[in-house]
């Protein structure tokens, strides 16, 4: 029995990741709540991870460098979430809102 199924094509994983990434982009642009923006970023990072893992399993099956990269992406995502939520807390303490439309201090 082959270790990876040939029945599920590689393209299925890629299309799935594309759907997830575009959903994340839409949420990133349109969310009013700052916490939801962070969630959308996590969705996009997961989509990238699915791509890395699919290529690693289908094309680079003996070296699996994609899995190592996915682990690094997970590490960076964890750091990003911690710092992002800390920034959000500090922002909320100073502006008393989580509405993205009112975080306009750096607008020209």
């Amino acid at each position: 029995m082959p270790a990876t199924s040939i029945d599920i094509p590689l393209q299925a994983y890629l299309v799935l990741a594309a759907i997830l990434f575009c959903t994340g982009v839409w949420g990133l642009i349109n969310s009013r709540n700052a916490v939801r923006v962070l969630m959308s970023i996590e969705l996009m990072l997961n989509a990238v991870n699915i791509n890395l893992m699919a290529f690693s399993s289908y094309i680079d099956g003996q070296q699996i460098r994609g899995q190592v990269f996915a682990i690094f992406v997970i590490t960076v995502a964890a750091a990003e979430a911690a710092v992002g939520l800390a920034i959000l807390l500090s922002l909320y303490r100073n502006r008393e809102t989580v509405d993205m439309e009112r975080f306009n201090l750096l607008r020209w």
């Binding site: 029995m1 990876t4 199924s5 040939i6 599920i8 393209q11 299309v15 799935l16 594309a18 759907i19 997830l20 990434f21 575009c22 959903t23 994340g24 982009v25 839409w26 949420g27 642009i29 349109n30 009013r32 916490v35 939801r36 969630m39 959308s40 996590e42 969705l43 997961n46 699915i50 893992m53 690693s56 399993s57 289908y58 680079d60 003996q62 699996i64 190592v68 996915a70 682990i71 690094f72 997970i74 590490t75 960076v76 995502a77 964890a78 750091a79 979430a81 911690a82 710092v83 939520l85 800390a86 959000l88 807390l89 500090s90 303490r93 100073n94 502006r95 008393e96 809102t97 009112r102």
Partner: protein, 208 residues
């Protein structure tokens, strides 16, 4: 088709449906607590996809880091900033949503075209299967040693940075208006811990 491949196909379809519906729910649901729990579902189904791809170590890391740490962190952030506020109406919000939806759809079609028309070199070499965890360890301690050590430094920086940023008593006044910030928004008003402890210490010292 053997039973194994049918099972794999059914698992893949179920996980894909959970993933797509969960992601749409995360983005579209008005209640953000529901979004956070759906995000946990999305992370779990991504971990299931990793298991389908014979990557048990990364699936375990996904469950531990994303569901166990990131999602709990997001839930805590929601609880800490959960003030009911009526978001002010913005003119042209619907137009903006439709436009950005069009842009995202165009991006999706672009990626879809690349995905489906590129002649990928599949099937590549035979996948490793269960030996992948061993090989990840070998990679991390040989040719990816420098990124591995840099990741530890990055995590330390993120930890210290998060503590410094989220400390409660850093800013006592609003940086914009200069008036005193309402610290009671984060926690209920109470007497500071430091005064209580020093008072207790002095009474203890007097007794001695």
């Amino acid at each position: 088709m053997t039973i194994a491949s049918v099972t794999q196909l059914v698992c893949f379809i179920a996980l894909s449906l959970t993933l797509v519906l969960g992601a749409l729910g995360v983005v579209l649901l008005p209640n953000i607590v529901y979004s956070a729990f759906l995000l946990a579902g999305v992370f779990l189904s991504v971990a299931g996809l990793y298991l389908l791809l014979n990557a048990s170590f990364v699936a375990a890391a996904q469950v531990l880091v994303y569901v166990g740490a990131v999602n709990v962190l997001i839930l805590f952030a929601i609880m800490l900033v959960n003030k009911k506020e009526a978001m002010a109406e913005i003119p042209g919000l619907l137009l903006r949503r439709v436009l950005s939806g069009g842009v995202c759809l165009g991006l999706f079609l672009l990626i879809l075209r690349v995905d489906l028309t590129t002649p990928w070199a599949v099937p590549g070499p035979t996948p490793l299967g269960d030996d992948s965890t061993v090989l990840i360890g070998i990679h991390l301690f040989s040719d990816y040693l420098l990124p591995f050590e840099l990741a530890s430094v990055l995590l330390l920086m993120a930890m210290i940075g998060a503590i410094v940023l989220a400390r409660r008593d850093v800013f006592s006044s609003d940086v914009i208006t200069g008036e005193a910030a309402d610290q009671g928004l984060i926690e209920k008003e109470r007497t500071p811990l430091l005064l209580e402890s020093t008072a207790g210490e002095t009474t203890l010292l007097e007794k001695v």
